[in-house]
């Protein structure tokens, strides 16, 4: 099936996947575009960071395809699959929020301004920041 994967930093990506026994199997080549991580012998990797896969069989099927739900779990990210619309949504890693709550280090986030130019919150961390979350509602 044609799956839409929603990832907070990457947006929406289309991926071919097959639902098998509660798993969503996809070609590992689709992984970087969908969730930003690459399957390597040492684990799931992004830039210089790798998350080792202690139970590789929970993520990689015998035929070499990768289970998107297993990959999300290995990355400690909440994940939700809406069968009816074939949409898979990934949340941020729990570690991002834990670093704020227990470590008091402000998580980074990349967001557009009103003109569409993206900014990293971290780029303001050379000074004191009063962060104000507001809404039109």
């Amino acid at each position: 099936m044609r799956l839409t994967v929603l990832e907070p930093d990457l947006g929406a990506a289309e991926v071919d996947a097959e639902a098998v026994d509660g798993r969503l199997l996809a070609d590992p080549a689709a992984l970087p575009g969908a969730i930003g991580w690459t399957l390597k012998p040492e684990g799931l990797c992004r830039a210089e960071a790798c998350v080792p896969l202690w139970d590789r069989d929970a993520v990689v099927a015998p035929d070499g395809r990768v289970d998107l739900l297993g990959a999300a779990a290995a990355l400690d990210r909440p994940v939700l699959f809406d069968d009816a619309s074939a949409t898979l949504a990934l949340g941020s890693a729990r570690a991002d929020r834990q670093q704020a709550l227990t470590g008091r280090r402000a998580p980074d986030v990349e967001l557009p301004d009103l003109d569409g130019t993206t900014h990293r919150l971290e780029s303001f961390f050379d000074r004191r920041v009063t962060l104000v979350a507001f809404a039109s509602w």
Binding site: P78, A100, A106, L121, F124, T130, V132, F134
Partner: protein, 194 residues
């Protein structure tokens, strides 16, 4: 040490935000996917976080810049504006928080799932799948009935006024549940010891 305000709108589009930012010179960002809200466990607006060179000096709290809703919220803006001005000038905060986790409870599994349903619903709405959107908005609200970034934010996306009956209903339920909030509620704020 320089200081800046960074305002983040938990909103669907820039057009929703523009009417509120006329003449504002500090950065205003738009968090359509609620990513900031997810990473900082923000469940209502306005929520303010004070960050000193990447370190959270004062975690989430409800801070109003005006008294527009003071009658309803019971939160006056004056002391909060003073606290923010003092912080901007000196870097000093008005609470001693050693462990932010003690005041900002982590999002529950249901609240996390609700936010994913919301994200799916907003996406389906954009792609024209109204039924799929309605189904996922409903599930999000069922899982996190007291999360304003879910339930109230979903109202305008479903053509419901976020200031009307649906809002009053949510407010009553939230009140009855003891005003749940991820952060320092106004009445929980403490004065630092000398």
């Amino acid at each position: 040490m320089p200081h800046t305000v960074v305002a983040v709108a938990i909103d669907e589009s820039s057009d929703d935000v523009r009417p509120f930012v006329d003449g504002i010179t500090f950065p205003v960002l738009v968090d359509r996917e609620h990513t900031l809200a997810e990473r900082y466990a923000i469940s209502n607006v306005p929520t303010v976080v004070l960050i000193d060179r990447g370190r959270i000096a004062k975690p989430n709290w409800v801070a109003f810049g005006t008294d527009t809703f003071a009658d309803f919220t019971g939160v006056a803006s004056g002391p909060q504006l003073d606290a923010v001005r003092h912080w901007a000038r000196t870097g000093e905060v008005d609470v001693q928080v050693e462990d932010a986790a003690a005041v900002v409870g982590d999002l529950s599994d249901d609240e996390l799932a609700a936010r994913l349903h919301f994200r799916i619903a907003a996406h389906l709405r954009r792609t024209g799948d109204e039924d799929g959107a309605a189904r996922n908005f409903a599930e999000a609200v069922r899982l996190a009935p007291h999360d304003w970034t879910v339930r109230r934010a979903a109202m305008p996306l479903q053509g419901v006024s976020p200031f009307g009956e649906a809002f009053m209903e949510m407010a009553a339920e939230w009140e009855a549940a003891g005003r749940p909030y991820h952060g320092l509620a106004a009445e929980q704020r403490v004065t630092p010891e000398d």
